[in-house]
Symmetry: C2
Subunit: 320 residues, 2 copies
C-alpha cells in the first residue's frame, strides 16, 4: 500500500487542489514567478491537504481554501527551515536559499504565509482561523525550541516529544481538525479528529527522524545523518544514550557537527543500533499509530475511516 | 514638534499598549523569553500603533488587538530583513541574527507573525482580517521585488515607488484603515484614512532613504549608506542618474557593494547632491505629505485631525 492508493477516494479533490494551487501562485512579480515555477518542479506528497480532505469527506470551497492554506504554510516552514547553510537540496531539487539566497527564501516563505492567511479569511469560518492561528504559533515555538536544544545532549524524551509535537504534529492536527470544521462536524468529532492528526503527526516525525539515521537517501530525497550534522539529537539516540554512559555522551558531543567524518557517523549509528535505539523509536511510532487508529475506530459514521486508518499506518512505514 | 507631542492625546492608549505588548510576549520557552527581553531593550517609536489609535479615536479591545498585531508584524518584518550578513545593529542594539543566528531571527519573526494572526482572530472583525491579509502579502511582494532589483541600476522611479508602497506604505495604510474599522467608521472614511496612511508611508520611506544617504548615524541609529552597500538604488540616486550619463551608471555599478570605500561612498553622495537628487526626493516626500494632509482635511468630524496632520508633516521631517 502507498499514498496514491490511500488517496484514491479523494483524487478529484486533490486534482482540483493542484489546479487552484497553481492559479493562486500566479504573480506579476518576475522573481515570485521564477521561484514558484522552480518549486513546482518537486511538489511533495500533499499529505496535509489529503488528510484534510479525508477528515472532511466534502469538497466545498472552505475545505479547498483550508487545504491550500495548510500546504502553503507547510511550504513556508520548509523555506524557512532551509535557511541554514547545510541544506542545498530538498525533494531532489535545489533549495531556494541555495539557488537564490537566504533572504529570498525567508521572504518567499512570508509570501506563502500571507497567501495562506488570505485564503483562510475567504473561508469565513472563525473556528478555522482560531485553529490555524494557534497552530502557526505552535510550529514556530517548536522550531525555536528545537534550535535552542540543538547541540544539547542532555535533551530527554519528554522535551523531544514536545518539540516534534509542536513543530510537526500540530500541522497534521490542524489539517485533520480543519477538515472536520469545513464539513460542519460537531465539536467532539472535530476534537477527536484533531487528536487523530496529532498522533499521526508524532508517528510521522519519529519515523522521519529514524529514516534520517538509517534510511536510504534515494528514497528520502535528503542526505542521511542531517540531524546529526546539525547537532539535533533525536529519539533513537536519546534512547541509546540512556543505555550508554557519560563517556559516550562526551565523545559524541565532540564529534557531532557539520563536518563529521563518515566513520564517526557510522560509529554513532552503530551505537544507536547496539543500544536498541532503532527498535525503541519504531515501537514508539507504532504506539502513536495505534492511538490514532483507536480514535478513528470510535467514529462510526465516518465514510473515510478505512482510508484514515491506512494513512496512520503509512505514517510509521519505512517505505512509503 | 516631535512624536511624543503628537502622540500626547493617545498617551493612555499607548501605555495600555505597552503593558499588553509585554504580557503577550511572555512565554514558557527559554529562548523566546531571552529574545523578547533583548528586543525590549530598544522598542522603537510605536509609530504604526499610534497612527492606528489616532485614526480610531477609540480605545476598545479590537483597536488594542489590531495595534498589537501591527507592531508585531512590523517587528517580524525587521527580524526577517536583518537576515543578511551586513546588519549587525538595529535601533542601537545587536540584531537577533547577529546575537543568535539567521535561523533564530527567521523563526522569531514567524512567531511574531503567528501572534499577530491570533490577536486579529480575537478582534472578530472580518474587514480587519481582509485588510491585514492583503497587507502582509503586499509587504512580502514589495520586499521580494526590492531583492530582485537590488544591484540593478536600471530601476526607474515608478518601480521604486511601487516597491516602497508595497513594502512600507502598505502597513501604514493598514494601520490607518484598521483604526477606522475598529471605531466603526463608514467604508468611505475607512478608505480615505487608508489612503492617508499610504501617502504618509511613502513620505516616510522616501525620507528614510534620503537620511540613509545624508543623515547623521547618531540620530538614525543605523550606519549611513547601508542601501548603497546593499546595492539598493533609492530615489535620490535614481533622479541623479537621470541627469548623469552612461559612464556614471557604469562607474557606480562597479564600486557599489558591501565593501565600498568611504571615498567612493562620498563620491556617490557628491554626485547625488550635484545633480539635484536630494532636493528632488525632499520635494517628492513633501508632495505625499500634502496629499495626506488634504485627505484628513476632508474629514470634518475627526477629532484627531490636527494630530494626524502633524504626524504626516513629521513623516517627511529630517529631524524627528
Amino acid at each position: 500500500m502507498d499514498f496514491s492508493q490511500v488517496f484514491d477516494p479523494i483524487s478529484n479533490q486533490l486534482e482540483r487542489f493542484e489546479t487552484r494551487y497553481k492559479e493562486i501562485l500566479q504573480s506579476d512579480s518576475v522573481i515570485i514567478r521564477r521561484i514558484t515555477e522552480h518549486l513546482m518542479g518537486a511538489s511533495g506528497k500533499r499529505l496535509r491537504p489529503a488528510l484534510l480532505y479525508l477528515t472532511s469527506g466534502k469538497d466545498n470551497d472552505s475545505a479547498l481554501y483550508a487545504a491550500l492554506a495548510v500546504e502553503l504554510i507547510h511550504t513556508a516552514t520548509l523555506l524557512h527551515d532551509d535557511v541554514i547553510d547545510e541544506s542545498s537540496t530538498r525533494r531532489g531539487i535545489d533549495t531556494v536559499n541555495y539557488k537564490w539566497n537566504n533572504l529570498i527564501s525567508v521572504l518567499m516563505g512570508d509570501y506563502f504565509f500571507a497567501k495562506a492567511f488570505g485564503l483562510l479569511v475567504k473561508a469565513e469560518k472563525p473556528d478555522l482561523m482560531t485553529s490555524f492561528a494557534a497552530t502557526t504559533e505552535r510550529v514556530s515555538v517548536g522550531e525555536l525550541n528545537q534550535a535552542f536544544y540543538t547541540g544539547n545532549f542532555d535533551i530527554d524524551e519528554d522535551i523531544y516529544l514536545q518539540i516534534i509535537a509542536d513543530k510537526t504534529a500540530s500541522l497534521f492536527a490542524c489539517s485533520a481538525e480543519a477538515g472536520a470544521i469545513c464539513s460542519g462536524q460537531d465539536p467532539k468529532t472535530c476534537d477527536m479528529l484533531k487528536s487523530f492528526g496529532e498522533n499521526l503527526g508524532l508517528a510521522f516525525q519519529i519515523t522521519d527522524d529514524l529514516l534520517d539515521l538509517i534510511g536510504e537517501s534515494t528514497k528520502t530525497g535528503k542526505s542521511l545523518g542531517s540531524d546529526i550534522r546539525e547537532g539535533w539529537v533525536t529519539l533513537p539516540l536519546i534512547y541509546a544514550l540512556r543505555n550508554g554512559n557519560a563517556e559516550h555522551k562526551k565523545r559524541f558531543q565532540g564529534i557531532l557537527g557539520a563536518d563529521i567524518a563518515q566513520s564517526d557517523l557510522d560509529e554513532v549509528v552503530g551505537f544507536v543500533r547496539k543500544n536498541g535505539g532503532i527498535e525503541y523509536a519504531e515501537q514508539k511510532a507504532k504506539g502513536y499509530v495505534e492511538k490514532a487508529i483507536a480514535i478513528v475506530r470510535g467514529l462510526d459514521g465516518l465514510p473515510t475511516r478505512g482510508a484514515l486508518e491506512n494513512l496512520a499506518t503509512l505514517a510509521a512505514a519505512r517505505d512509503k
